[in-house]
């Protein structure tokens, strides 16, 4: 009889434990993938958010905007970071697969900065000159007011949103074959800082240890360096939004996270990292 009682008590405890376990908060995992330009910002957002929301695990990886959008389409990420708007062909894939156009959330602004080596005497370039340089038509610094030396080009890989944005908005044709592609803007900055005759492009948040080149729309315009004021005022000619994309309207923990990113607290981190808030 005693044994029966003991067994009953044990079973009861086990059942309570199992029920309790079932109702225990399960950590919610959010995966974020995409733009290398945004990876530091996304990591910072995740880090700060997870401190105050310990039930949420946010996993951030880069790989480029194109990679992120592909991951969103194939279902391997919840949120895609992209430094360029989604292309029509990508939207069509999303429509075909999920019967959805996706949700676009602009979450920061960025000025694509032109990096020059600190010793380079060139201070400003027009959009046309940049196009000629990165398409390989202009090969020598002498042609744009610099020393008599070959221009060394550094750029991003074609999966990068920065690569696509810069190509579509500045180069407007194919990149020169001599343009060395590097994995991440940090690598571009590093390469230019070591190469006297190097020139590269990337997000403003990475521009440490190199010189910023002022950019003007054309010969008659004023040249501006990318900073908070010029980007916000729309004076700096190479600005863009940074986006987050989702398959469907966010719900639950993902919605809470995105709401937080767009809140003053989340946007404050945007400024801290070196980008510009959308609000």
């Amino acid at each position: 009889m005693k044994k029966m009682k003991k067994a009953g008590v044990s079973l009861g405890i086990l059942m309570i434990a199992l029920i309790g376990f079932a109702f225990m908060p399960v950590p919610q995992k959010i995966t974020v993938k995409g733009s290398d330009t945004m990876v530091i910002l996304a990591q910072k957002w995740a880090e700060v958010y997870m401190k105050s929301h310990q039930e949420t695990i946010i996993q951030v990886t880069g790989g480029g905007s194109g990679t992120g959008i592909s991951a969103l389409i194939n279902g391997s990420t919840d949120i895609c970071n992209s430094s360029r708007p989604m292309k029509q062909s990508e939207m069509d894939k999303l429509k075909d697969r999920y019967a959805s156009l996706g949700i676009e959330i602009p979450c920061a602004k960025d000025g694509v900065t032109i990096f020059l080596n600190s010793s380079n005497p060139v201070k400003e370039l027009t959009l046309k000159q940049l196009s000629n340089i990165f398409s390989g038509k202009t090969k020598n610094w002498k042609e744009v007011g610099g020393p008599d030396a070959d221009i060394k080009l550094y750029g991003r890989e074609n999966s990068s949103g920065t690569y696509v944005f810069f190509k579509d908005n500045v180069v407007r044709t194919d990149y020169a074959a001599s343009c060395q592609t590097l994995p991440g803007t940090a690598a571009v900055v590093n390469a230019v800082s070591k190469d006297k005759y190097g020139i590269g492009y990337g997000g403003a948040a990475y521009a440490a240890g190199v010189k910023h080149c002022a950019v003007k729309k054309d010969d008659k315009s004023t040249a501006y360096v990318a900073n908070a004021e010029t980007v916000k005022a729309g004076q700096y000619p190479i600005t863009r939004y940074l986006y987050m994309y989702l398959r469907n309207r966010p719900t639950g923990e993902i919605k809470a996270y995105i709401d937080w990113i767009l809140s003053p607290e989340g946007q404050k981190l945007v400024t801290e990292i070196g980008y510009f808030p959308v609000k």
Binding site: G75, D96, A99, S100, L101, E104, D174
Partner: protein, 512 residues
């Protein structure tokens, strides 16, 4: 004392030798260091040269690799098992490779694309796509297509690998057989505006089966059947409905002609329309369609897509012939003996016919989570809107006509012998309405499970419903029928009833 002197001498000698040897040693060390420095310098130079060489090779390799990235290869295989419920189907269940396609795309420079897509069927390889695209490098708005590619229509251009049900709707399969056509197309798609305009010109007869009197297809693949070229146009505009979805609306039109291949042309209701001067003249193929696709974010993706098409589609006719020689006849009249040879020539042909048609399809698609999708489609196709259900089987045209030609030759004087070679031509130009005029409504239900990005499984059930057609006699037999034989047992479909033709499809698709 002597001992002390000796010790002093030794010390002096050692000191002197040390003093002399230090500069020598120092000089040696300097020489060694110099040598080492030279070696390091030499090694550094060698290394720099080597790195330079590697960099050069890397640049070459990168260049080669960049060329490879201009080639894109994609494809998919659809393997399926189908069960047919139609009594005429034998075998009633089959395994099949429905589609096995590899698409090769080469973009040597931005805006210039070559596409080649063969379809590999067991025992048969066909080219589905073979075209080149050149886009304007300035506005990136205009692109010129040439070759064999999809006709501009929503359901045609929507890839079979993405479609939510196994096959396209009946109306699209009827008016755009084989989906692709050979020709040229100008596409206008401004990058910043969700507007797309397509203007195309095609041979127009691609995928059509045009038969002669013996039932042979005279519309050989990849060559045109006539001199007439068909024009197509399509316009679409996409609206964004905030963050809840989007709506795309559009219209397309087809303006074409096809060689009549017959002198007689009938109206849609099988009445006589006109007689042409020669068989090379044309009959028309004109229609328009209106489409809309609504995407709505309601607990995941939801799509409602549809299109309505109506117009006139024509089928060419043909000529046939057979000859019968009758025995010689002789008649004696008014001292003239007439000897006649009668030849009867019968031509069995079919007139061309222009039929008014209409059709539509509506899809309702709901995605559930990341992996599940359910779809329902209702589609309707009426190949002849001018015939009521009861007129099918009765409406017909018999254009029989005969013409006698006499060719007398006279010989002799008394009596005169007249010899006649008499020819009679009978044109039997028959066409009767029948199963080809029956309207069909079709329900298709499908469930798709996306195993991952590359693999999906689909189960689908299709229910075609024929319009009950023809007239029924006192015994309950209709006049619109078709015969079939299964295992040497002959049977008849009577279309005054619903003919069960449902199909179950279980499909696996692998895409890469």
């Amino acid at each position: 004392m002597k001992k002390n002197m000796n010790a002093l001498a030794y010390i002096s000698l050692i000191t002197a030798s040390l003093l002399f040897s230090f500069p020598v040693m120092a000089q040696k060390q300097v020489d060694d260091l110099k040598k080492e420095q030279d070696t390091i310098k030499e090694n550094a130079t060698t290394l720099r040269d080597r790195i330079g060489g590697v960099e050069e090779r890397l640049a070459t390799a990168e260049g080669d690799l960049a060329k490879l990235t201009k080639i894109k290869i994609s494809g998919y295989i659809q393997a399926q098992w189908q069960h047919f419920e139609a009594a005429s189907s034998y075998p009633d269940n089959i395994f099949q490779v429905r589609r096995a396609r590899i698409k090769f795309q080469y973009e040597p420079v931005q805006g210039v694309v070559f596409v080649l897509q063969p379809d590999f069927q067991p025992g048969n390889i066909t080219i589905k796509d073979a075209y080149a695209i050149a886009q304007d490098p300035w506005l990136k708005t205009f692109s010129l297509w040439a070759g064999k590619f999809n006709r501009p229509n929503y359901e045609v251009e929507y890839s079979s690998s993405s479609r939510e049900v196994p096959e396209r709707s009946r109306v699209i399969r009827a008016i755009y057989p084989d989906e692709r056509a050979i020709g040229a197309k100008l596409e206008i798609a401004p990058p910043q505006i969700p507007l797309k305009i397509q203007l195309a010109i095609f041979n127009g007869n691609d995928g059509l089966t045009i038969t002669d009197a013996n039932g042979n297809n005279i519309n050989a693949q990849n060559t045109d059947f006539d001199n007439y070229k068909d024009i197509m146009g399509r316009v679409t505009y996409a609206f964004k409905l905030g963050n809840i979805g989007g709506l795309t609306i559009g219209a397309h039109g087809y303006y074409g002609k096809i060689k009549a291949n017959s002198l007689d042309v009938l109206n849609s209701d099988y009445t006589y329309n006109k007689t042409l001067d020669n068989v090379g003249q044309s009959v028309k193929k004109n229609w328009v369609g209106f489409e809309a696709q609504l995407y709505f974010d309601f607990l995941g993706g939801l799509a409602l897509k549809g299109e309505y098409i109506f117009g006139v589609n024509s089928t060419p006719g043909y000529f046939g012939s057979s000859t019968v020689v009758s025995p010689m006849t002789s008649v004696l009249k008014n001292d003239t003996l007439t000897l006649a040879t009668l030849t009867t020539k019968t031509t069995t042909g079919r007139p061309a016919i222009s039929k008014n048609f209409n059709g539509y399809y509506v899809y309702l698609i709901k995605n559930i989570g990341k992996r599940n999708q359910v779809a329902v489609r209702f589609d309707y196709y009426n190949p002849n809107t001018k015939l009521a259900a009861g007129q099918i089987g009765a409406a017909k045209w018999d254009g029989s006509s005969s013409k006698m030609v006499n060719n007398f030759t006279y010989a002799g004087t008394d009596p005169v012998i007249a010899t006649n070679s008499q020819t009679k031509t009978v044109v039997n130009n028959l066409l009767k309405s029948g199963t080809g005029d029956i309207a069909y409504s079709t329900w298709t239900f499908a469930y798709t499970y996306f195993f991952d990005d590359n693999i999906k499984f689909m189960i689908s059930y299709e229910i075609p419903i024929n319009r009950k057609s023809g007239t029924v006699d006192a015994n309950g037999n209709g006049n619109v029928t078709s015969n079939y034989t299964v295992n040497n047992i002959a049977s008849v479909y009577d279309y005054s009833n619903w003919i069960k033709q449902n199909t179950l499809t279980v499909r696996m698709q692998v895409k890469f």
